[in-house]
Symmetry: C2
Subunit: 147 residues, 2 copies
DNA sequence: CGGCTTTCTTGAACGAGTCAAGTTTTCCGG
DNA sequence: CCGGAAAACTTGACTCGTTCAAGAAAGCCG
């Protein structure tokens, strides 16, 4: 994903090309699953004068235009990643909150067909796996084995 | 689920049986997927003196003991339902936020086996279906058909 | 029934996210 | 290349779900 492509993506979505928006896109590319505060800090390395609010606005606009995807595991603040089009899901560490991408084993449209949907018109199935990341699992196992 | 069973469940979990706790359990049974504010109001019908904080504490204790399950779709406040043990998931209306239960079509442990988990130790797969509830879908369809 | 904990009440505080007003920037048409 | 309308940004205040802290009350074991 080149910088010039970001510009093209913005125009295709009917959005104006601005320095804050390019900086946010670069920050999201550099740090997938980062929260707003982290992205703000990253943006300010390149563009020190970008405001708090601008990052919220930009992330909102990018999310509405499907250039960026917002995820928010329970108990976490909003996190963002570049919209990649493939159907991937996320695994979240219960201990430290780290998020990683996972492909679903079932196929391209996993679980999108629920049995009884109560008349809901479903357009997306979001799968969140919960568990422990390698680091937290390692920290925990020895403690249980040697009391 | 009888009231006397709530008492038993609390004791089995090593929790003391209190009026606030029983009232919260009844409220959650009566209004599945309700948020904290709704549950607080429901509790106060029976127990007017129960505090704000008590409901948060109780819901936290019940969640930790697995008597109650906390769900939190992106963009929503925390919602609660009685822990029923079966493997069901949720469908959320993008428009009004309504939540309904759905059984997953794939089986008892749907999607629990992700392909590459990056070394995470996974203990749960949570599926959230997103779409429009019957009411919101109906409100929207005519508007698109008759411009 | 007494005493040790757990739980609850009260009241303040925190923080992610939003709202609002005014200024700056983008970009289209001339 | 320039002017002006619309979109985007800055600044600063504010909302609201949730948490923190200290002291009072209630549950439960012996």
């Amino acid at each position: 994903m080149e910088d010039s492509e970001f510009e093209h993506l913005l125009r295709s979505a009917g959005l104006r090309v601005t320095r804050p928006r390019l900086a946010v896109l670069r920050a999201v590319r550099r740090q997938p699953h980062a929260d707003t505060a982290t992205l703000l800090a990253a943006v300010r390395v390149e563009e020190p004068s970008v405001s708090h609010q601008a990052v919220y606005d930009v992330l909102g606009a990018l999310t509405d235009s499907d250039l960026v995807r917002r995820i928010q595991p329970a108990g976490s603040v909003a996190r963002y990643e570049l919209r990649v089009g493939d159907n991937h899901h996320h695994v979240v560490c219960r201990s430290c909150g780290t998020v990683a991408d996972v492909d679903c084993a079932v196929g391209v449209r996993p679980c999108l067909d629920a049995s009884d949907t109560h008349g809901f018109v479903i357009d997306e199935a979001e799968v969140t796996y919960w568990g422990l990341c390698p680091t937290c699992a390692a920290d925990r196992a020895p403690a249980a084995a040697a009391p």
